[in-house]
């Protein structure tokens, strides 16, 4: 997301409402939403399942490997989940960046008049 020179905005005022209602921008928002909302719901549910299941039950106390129980496996899975989501997001965000740069170039620098 380069920060473009500001000359254009000063010369002709950007119509942000027009940019916002452009199909290009709407598509970007749609794509972001389709990724971020389900991911956020997923990681919050995954996270709260741990304290909820340890607080209201003891079924996670059954061993998996030797003395390591499901509670520990679930706890470590939280770390793995965090790193996996980070990596997926970075990939995904690169496509968002491209779309955003295009919107800046094609619409805003022309004063939202494209």
């Amino acid at each position: 997301m380069a920060q473009p020179k500001l000359v254009n905005e000063e010369k002709n005022h950007v119509d942000f409402e027009k940019v916002e209602s452009s199909p290009q921008f709407k598509k970007l928002m749609e794509n972001k939403k389709k990724f971020i909302v389900p991911m956020t719901i997923f990681f919050l549910v995954f996270y709260f399942l741990l304290p909820i299941s340890t607080s209201y039950g003891t079924f996670l106390n059954t061993p998996v490997f030797g003395d390591i129980t499901w509670a520990w496996v679930f706890a470590v899975a939280q770390f793995v989940m965090t790193w996996v989501i980070c990596s997926i997001y970075v990939k995904k965000a690169n496509t968002f960046d491209k779309d955003a740069d295009q919107i800046v170039k094609e619409q805003i620098e022309r004063g939202g008049k494209a």
């Binding site: 997301m1 380069a2 920060q3 473009p4 500001l6 905005e9 000063e10 950007v14 942000f16 409402e17 940019v19 916002e20 209602s21 921008f25 970007l28 928002m29 972001k32 971020i36 991911m39 956020t40 990681f43 919050l44 996270y47 709260f48 741990l50 304290p51 909820i52 340890t54 607080s55 209201y56 003891t58 996670l60 106390n61 490997f65 030797g66 003395d67 390591i68 129980t69 509670a71 520990w72 706890a75 470590v76 939280q78 770390f79 965090t82 790193w83 989501i85 980070c86 997001y89 970075v90 965000a93 960046d97 955003a100 740069d101 919107i103 800046v104 805003i108």
Partner: protein
């Protein structure tokens, strides 16, 4: 005192002063002072975030909590890490795209109202002061133990050091102190974990089997429930941890030190990997301490368990490792409090003085002076408060700071970026409802009132049952913002269109 301890201690003091000297020469504008001129790279800022975030409470507190309470201690590690997904997916990039120096800047990119800025500055200052007192009191007690010097001298040493970094070197010095500390801390963690694992021939299963018989808890040590036996209390704490980070002023401020949202993103990634590895390693420190130091000895050194990590270092690596880990703990404290001073100073000098009193018309020279006076003021105030708080049990202040951040700051950040109808009165309501409800509920909680003398600030029965009120105060913060918005007729869809476009494309005007 051991000469090795003194040498390493002085080495850290010297190193950070050299950093500050060079940073001071590069600090010429308010932009340099608050945000290092926005010139940090992704990995630099990522390490600085880790250095800013991993406090002595994380390093020493969690190692101790795991050593004493087993699985329950590890809850903190998990919450503190997952919080970065909230930062990454919802907060970091729009924040970078909309803000300049402070959280209030970001909210005011949409509203430009003094009362919003004032409320945001108030919540920032409250969080910073609580967090700072917790850090300084903890630091004083710890340095007293590590280096065998009186509490007030320990607090003064840390206080003077943090003041010097921020006063002269601003964000550049603070960032590099944090980066240095992050590297030292990770090195210390990896060395201890490696030695612990080596003793078990890298058989983690064997370590679990050993620790099962090493403590007075027996097999229960490996199961959840030793410390957190109140389900709602546990969930409330976990809520504060996961949502609080994304509202902590000193963490949010770090995102203004990079040039754009893409770099902000890559710094969160570096931070998340570093912090994640750190918190995994807390497990080996905690178990190691339970096995090689033993719970009774940990408790004898410090009832909060804070000495578990240094004692483990001594038990498995002798004096040299003990000295190194003590020095790392010292560096850890310095890096965190410096970040706090800076974010507190920015709220006073930039938000209250520069934008509210001077209406954004202060000259560069005035702004710089104000920033330095504010840094000095925040430092002196927190040193004085901490000197008076030596005998108070302040551990709960950290989770209170997270709770206020989650209840007051996060709702406003999310509404500002994502809710079209949101307005000025909603922003003030969200901030104040979150802040006040967290404070009031904590003041009635078991952290403040306990029937057993000496375990809390006052003797008495708590009116509110949860130690950490996030489960109630976070929804109240969101509700306050919602009601404040819909009860006011004000709306500005045109401005929101601009905010939305800027937040998502990184497009900026000249300000």
């Amino acid at each position: 005192m051991d000469p090795v301890v003194i040498i390493l201690f002085l080495a850290i003091v010297l190193l950070t002063l050299v950093i500050t000297y060079f940073a001071a020469k590069r600090t010429k504008s308010t932009g340099d002072f608050y945000t290092a001129g926005g010139g940090l790279t992704g990995w630099q800022n990522g390490l600085a975030i880790a250095g800013d975030y991993l406090s002595a409470a994380s390093f020493l507190g969690i190692a101790g909590a795991i050593a004493l309470n087993g699985f329950d201690g590890f809850f903190y590690s998990i919450g503190f890490l997952i919080a970065y997904l909230v930062v990454l997916l919802l907060v970091a990039e729009p924040l970078r795209n909309l803000g300049k120096y402070t959280l209030a800047d970001m909210i005011n990119s949409r509203f430009n109202a003094k009362r919003v800025r004032g409320a945001a500055a108030l919540s920032t200052i409250t969080i910073v002061l609580f967090y700072m007192i917790a850090q300084l009191v903890g630091a004083g007690a710890l340095i007293q133990l590590l280096f065998d010097i009186p509490y007030w001298i320990a607090v003064l040493i840390v206080g003077v050091m943090m003041t010097i970094y921020v006063l002269f070197g601003g964000m550049i010095a603070t960032s590099w102190v944090q980066i240095t500390k992050a590297v030292l801390l990770m090195a210390g963690m990896i060395i201890i974990s490696f030695i612990v694992l080596l003793k078990f021939n890298f058989n983690i299963g064997a370590m679990f089997t050993e620790v099962k018989t090493a403590t007075s808890h027996g097999a229960d040590y490996l199961n959840p429930g030793i410390k957190y036996d109140n389900p709602l209390g546990t969930i409330s704490l976990m809520l504060a941890l996961v949502l609080g980070t994304a509202g902590l002023p000193h963490i949010l401020m770090r995102f203004f030190t990079v040039k754009d949202a893409k770099t902000a993103r890559s710094s969160v990634i570096t931070a998340t990997w570093t912090i994640g590895i750190f918190y995994i390693l807390t497990l080996f420190l905690g178990f190691g301490a339970a096995i090689y130091v033993g719970q009774s000895e940990i408790l004898a050194a410090n009832p909060g368990g804070n000495m578990a990590a240094p004692l483990l270092a001594e038990a498995i690596g002798g004096n040299i490792l003990f000295a190194f880990i003590s020095a790392v703990a010292f560096a850890t404290i310095l890096a965190v409090v410096a970040g706090l001073v800076l974010s507190g100073a920015s709220a006073f000098a930039h938000d209250i003085y520069g934008e509210i009193v001077k209406k954004g018309k202060a000259t560069e020279r005035e702004q710089m002076l104000a920033a330095r006076y504010a840094a000095l003021g925040v430092s002196v105030l927190s040193i004085l408060l901490s000197l008076g708080a030596q005998y108070l049990n302040v551990a709960f202040l950290v989770s209170l700071a997270f709770c206020i951040a989650a209840s007051a700051n996060l709702p406003v950040i999310l509404y500002t970026v994502y809710w079209k109808r949101f307005n000025t009165s909603g922003a003030v309501w969200a901030l104040l409802t979150g802040l006040i409800s967290a404070l009031v509920l904590v003041s009635m909680s078991p952290s403040v009132f306990s029937p057993v003398e000496g375990t809390a600030l006052f003797v008495g029965n708590p009116i509110f049952p949860l130690d950490n009120p996030a489960l109630v105060s976070v929804p109240l913060g969101f509700l306050g913002g919602y009601l404040g918005t819909i009860f006011s007729k004000e709306y500005d869809f045109k401005k929101y269109a601009e905010v939305k476009v800027r937040a998502n494309t990184g497009y900026r005007s000249s300000n």
